[in-house]
């Protein structure tokens, strides 16, 4: 086990290096960055002197020049950037004039909370769904559920999101739900439970829009693994020794099928972070996705670069955690 973890960590190093180099190169070769002074002044009119100074600071910050103003080679630039990143000095946003780390600290909890709730809802529907369809394989309920979940998966979030918002959170039609944000304005004088209720009321529509597409994949996988487990020898043994159908199902088949869920959970993590861009933009929630989107529009390259970096490191770590969990949960799995 320890050997396995060490090997996985060692294999992560080239991936991380390659990924950071890709991000570095993508941003460094962006047209109009390395020389553009106007890029950094964010549209504010400045004197020529101030502009020059700012550009010098910016070039220094991006490791384009050394202390004496001499240009640095590309590889050295990458190494310096990597060094300062490893030391925890992420970039500074051009638009917000704040360190990217601060921005991420503010927004990561928002996105993670919503995604955690969304994932819980997806599992609460998909596990029974997969179980029922597996037990009724080929019958009407199986086909109906399969088609319905595939149709939901195909339904574009941008359409359903804007339609739901347009009908249910719009004074023109039904003003039932808040149209933006996560909290009412007067959160300061709310009791704790009132606060939670207010939060839940605000995230109803975003959660609905972020879960409905997730049922298809997960139920299909659970259905597949239950069907596979039903044909195993141990099920026949369990039946032969006189266990009831329910016991076989819950204690033997279902528990073994849940093992696959660990892998699936890990695989769906990056998708949830990526999908939140659309949800957060439609429902005006200030999370990671919206930050990525607004900085894309403003060409706020330090934010884009560091955001991608942080998210991808999180993703790699979650893949590793999933593999280790799988190993702990199923002692049969060996990594020779």
């Amino acid at each position: 086990m320890t050997t396995y973890i060490i090997r996985r960590l060692l294999l992560m190093i080239p991936t991380l290096l390659g990924m950071t180099f890709m991000l570095f190169a993508v941003v460094r070769f962006a047209p109009g960055l390395t020389t553009g002074g106007g890029q950094f002044s964010a549209g504010i009119m400045q004197s020529r002197q101030a502009q020059k100074q700012e550009q010098a600071i910016m070039e220094r910050r991006l490791h384009l020049v050394d202390k004496n103003g001499h240009p640095i080679s590309l590889v050295m630039q990458y190494i310096l950037w990597l060094k300062s990143t490893c030391e925890g000095h992420l970039g500074t946003s051009i638009v917000y004039q704040e360190p990217v780390l601060t921005l991420i600290e503010q927004r990561l909890p928002v996105t993670l909370t919503i995604n955690a709730i969304a994932m819980a809802v997806i599992y609460l529907v998909s596990i029974p769904g997969g179980l029922i369809t597996a037990l009724n394989q080929g019958r009407l309920i199986d086909r109906g559920y399969g088609f319905l979940s595939l149709a939901l998966y195909s339904l574009p979030v941008i359409w359903l999101g804007s339609t739901v918002l347009g009908f249910l959170a719009n004074p023109q039609y039904f003003n039932w739900f808040p149209s933006a944000g996560l909290h009412s304005t007067n959160t300061a004088n709310m009791t704790f439970f009132r606060y939670i209720a207010d939060y839940l009321y605000h995230i109803v529509l975003p959660i609905v829009c972020s879960v409905y597409g997730g049922f298809a994949f997960l139920s299909k996988q659970i259905r597949g693994s239950i069907l596979e487990n039903l044909q195993q020898d141990y099920v026949r043994t369990a039946r032969a020794k006189g266990l009831s159908g329910t016991t076989v199902l819950t204690r033997h088949v279902f528990r073994n099928s849940l093992l696959n869920l660990i892998t699936l959970t890990g695989m769906s993590l990056p998708g949830l972070l990526g999908g939140s861009v659309i949800i957060e933009q439609i429902f005006s929630i200030n999370g990671m996705g919206r930050l990525a989107y607004t900085s894309t529009l403003a060409r706020d390259l330090p934010v884009i670069q560091d955001l991608a970096l942080v998210v991808s490191v999180l993703t790699l770590l979650s893949y590793l955690a999933v593999d280790i969990c799988y190993h702990l949960a199923d002692p049969r799995v060996t990594y020779g």
């Binding site: 294999l11 080239p14 991936t15 390659g18 990924m19 890709m22 991000l23 993508v26 941003v27 962006a30 047209p31 080929g138 399969g146 595939l150 149709a151 998966y153 195909s154 339904l155 574009p156 979030v157 941008i158 359409w159 359903l160 999101g161 804007s162 339609t163 918002l165 347009g166 009908f167 959170a169 719009n170 004074p171 023109q172 039609y173 149209s179 990056p270 998708g271 972070l273 990526g274 999908g275 861009v277 659309i278 439609i282 990525a292 989107y293 900085s295 894309t296 529009l297 060409r299 390259l301 884009i304 670069q305 955001l307 991608a308 998210v311 991808s312 490191v313 993703t315 790699l316 893949y319």
Partner: protein
């Protein structure tokens, strides 16, 4: 004692042996729903290819009446003003039709002759298409003609004008003075107009070209990258495999939509950029699948025989191994097409996709108003439904293909 010998080889078989792909196709297209989806997608591709002839503000042909000093003359405004992309797509359509005719005409020939004929005709047609395509592209031409032919026809300045079925271009605005913006469906505009006074139906049809174009081109790029990388890593293993898989992990570690946003932010929002970006961020799944298949196949006897007979590597890889490992990749490509259509629509909806006035279903959804204040749902209905049905059709076909090649469902009808 039962006769266990094989029947003599010259004895005719009771049924014709079916090649694998014919068998897969028969199973794939058995459900009515899949046939309907295929028909819908074929229709969408035809619309994408021929849309300048279906929805356009210029007449196919008209006559400019005789005036003092000028004789009456016949004019072809629509064909005169086709852009080079239009011409190239028309050439592609003609090539596809020609190849289809050859395939149909050679269907009763024996297999060697049939394949030979199809290959030769494919080479000739592809050659002609590439040459004419690049010639047309060299004589680059954008749509320039902004003449209002409908008004000319109404005032008798042109006669015998034959307009396309939807007589509006995708960027043609009703003049502001008429107040014909955000119209409900009417006789003049069958699906109403958008906030700029442009015809919704025409824009929906033109949007099909963007959606299909992005879907096909991006997935072809992704497939080529994924197949080459997956084949090499799966066949050679070892160091190749380690490096290739690190490359896959590198791209996969960044959530797709984040990666696409990063690329779009930096490398521009031209439609070709978007195709390439969706392609180069979407190949990892194909590489993984093909690698796994090649691991399984590479030690089978027929591959060893192919290697032993001294075939060049590319022939072993792509002619002998690929057809036996491609099916999971094809299933995945079906889902990939659906994903590409969604991603393009989403990018355009967020305003970082194709640039106006190009019609895309996503940007049409966006122009249906800010949902929290003024929401014109009838404008969102058309593009929303089209994205939904297109994505659903691709997903259904992919799922049906997965069932068709799944050995565990073999016996069931």
């Amino acid at each position: 004692m039962a006769d266990l010998t094989m029947p003599p080889i010259d004895q005719p078989l009771l049924y014709a042996p079916r090649p694998y792909w014919g068998w897969v196709a028969a199973r794939l297209f058995r459900p009515l729903l899949v046939r309907m989806c295929t028909a819908y997608l074929v229709m969408l591709v035809l619309i994408a290819l021929f849309v300048p002839l279906i929805a356009n503000g210029q007449p196919y042909t008209c006559v400019i009446p005789a005036t003092a000093g000028h004789a009456a003359a016949r004019d072809y405004p629509l064909f005169r003003d086709l852009s080079s992309i239009d011409w190239i797509l028309l050439a592609v359509a003609a090539a596809l039709a020609a190849q289809g005719i050859v395939i149909f005409a050679s269907r009763r020939l024996a297999r060697p002759q049939r394949m030979m004929r199809r290959r030769i005709s494919f080479a000739i047609i592809a050659g002609i298409t590439i040459i004419t395509g690049s010639l047309i592209a060299a004589l680059h031409h954008n749509r320039l003609d902004a003449t209002n032919y409908r008004s000319l026809a109404r005032h008798g300045l042109i006669t015998h004008a034959v307009f396309p079925p939807v007589p509006w271009g995708y960027a043609e605005m009703e003049p502001l003075s008429k107040g014909l913006i955000n119209q409900l469906p009417s006789h003049r505009h069958w699906l109403g107009t958008d906030g700029d006074g442009r015809d919704e139906l025409s824009r929906l049809l033109w949007g099909a070209r963007i959606a299909m174009g992005v879907g096909f081109v991006s997935q072809i790029i992704a497939l080529v990258m994924g197949i080459v990388l997956g084949a090499l890593t799966g066949y050679f293993g070892g160091v190749f495999d380690i490096i290739g898989m690190r490359l896959v992990e590198m791209v996969e570690s960044i959530p797709t939509f984040f990666l696409i946003l990063t690329f779009v932010a930096i490398y521009g929002r031209h439609i070709l950029d978007i195709m390439v970006i969706i392609g180069v961020t979407g190949w990892t799944g194909y590489a993984r699948l093909l690698r796994a298949e090649f691991f399984r196949i590479r030690n089978l006897d027929y591959v060893l025989a192919a290697q032993g007979s001294g075939m060049p590597l590319w022939r072993v890889l792509f002619k002998h191994m690929l057809p036996n490992g491609i099916t999971p990749v094809l299933v995945s490509a079906g889902f990939g097409m659906a994903g590409a259509v969604t991603i393009e629509a989403t990018l355009s909806y967020l305003g970082v996709g194709v640039q106006p006035p190009t019609a895309s279903w996503g940007s049409m959804l966006n122009s249906a108003g800010n949902p929290a204040t003024v929401f014109r749902w009838w404008q969102a209905l058309g593009p929303g439904m089209l994205i939904f049905i297109t994505v659903l059709a691709f997903n259904l076909i992919a799922e049906s293909l997965r069932d068709a090649i799944d050995p565990t469902t073999m016996g069931r009808r």
